[in-house]
């Protein structure tokens, strides 16, 4: 193999690969993921559409800054989350606080751990009882920093490190937002399940 041959992700040589940029097709592969994230962040379809369009227009404009072969999905999400965060700053009505500090993790898990003899696991019970719409509402009710961390990790599967890079925050901040956000979610959803079952 010559010193000038360049390898694609599959290890095979690719013909005339660009050093930067991406194709329209490559970028559009991620539109569903960007859109569902935008929906959770803006909480309405019209704003989500605007946010996704803004994301793509910026991505196309700054195409040259994207190093070919790096993670396009993470790069697009970084643009989306930055655009979303600057919107939040303008129209912030988030309190950022919640009453979760009093809630102990052990209380939360006690009901799950003690569910052994009931034939149906807590997981099945929850999965069966909670409607998708309730889950979406519970996510959308989270304060914005927690919501973002939960969506990026639990829905989109980004690593802590990828999320930290995306949001320009330390890894520990990602973890604390994520764990706190999940704790609020778990509480809302288990409370909803128990009130449904009652």
């Amino acid at each position: 193999m010559s010193a000038y041959a360049v390898q694609g992700e599959d290890g095979l040589p690719t013909s005339e690969p660009p050093a930067t940029g991406f194709t329209e097709e490559q970028a559009m592969e991620h539109i569903d993921a960007l859109y569902r994230t935008a929906l959770r962040l803006t909480r309405n379809p019209a704003d989500a559409e605007d946010l996704v369009q803004e994301t793509y227009l910026r991505a196309f404009r700054f195409r040259d800054r994207f190093a070919a072969g790096s993670n396009l999905r993470a790069w697009l999400f970084k643009i989306l989350t930055n655009a979303a965060i600057s919107r939040f700053r303008h129209t912030s009505r988030e309190s950022g606080d919640s009453s979760l500090d009093e809630m102990e993790e052990s209380d939360l898990y006690a009901h799950v751990a003690g569910d052994g003899g009931r034939g149906e696991s807590a997981e099945d019970e929850l999965l069966n009882a909670v409607l998708d719409v309730d889950v979406r509402e519970a996510i959308e009710a989270l304060p914005e920093p927690f919501r973002l961390a939960v969506v990026l990790s639990d829905v989109e599967g980004f690593s802590y490190k990828e999320i930290a890079d995306m949001l320009d925050v330390p890894l520990g901040t990602v973890m604390s937002r994520l764990f706190r956000g999940r704790r609020i979610l778990r509480k809302r959803l288990t409370d909803a399940t128990r009130s449904t079952a009652a």
């Binding site: 329209e24 559009m28 539109i31 569903d32 960007l34 859109y35 569902r36 929906l39 959770r40 559409e49 996704v52 369009q53 793509y56 227009l57 196309f60 993790e105 052990s106 898990y109 799950v112 751990a113 003690g114 569910d115 052994g116 696991s121 807590a122 997981e123 099945d124 929850l126 999965l127 909670v130 998708d132 719409v133 889950v135 979406r136 996510i139 939960v150 969506v151 990790s153 639990d154 829905v155 690593s159 802590y160 973890m175 994520l178 764990f179 999940r182 979610l185 778990r186 959803l189």
Partner: protein, 71 residues
Amino acid sequence: MDCNELQARLEQFVDRELSNEEAAEVQAHLDACPPCVRIYHFEVGMRRLVRRACCESAPDYLRARIIEAGR
């Protein structure tokens, strides 16, 4: 590792963010502790629930609008 230590690391375990060594310790505890296994399944179930609920597709007209605007 006791149950409290397990619960403190469980989310990182489910997120595959622990080192191999730490993950092995969590796994060893889970192998011996049914109540913690239930908590583990609950955590996994929560992730699945969230992912299942968030699965919208972008409308076709948005796709078309973006492609048009990008040219």
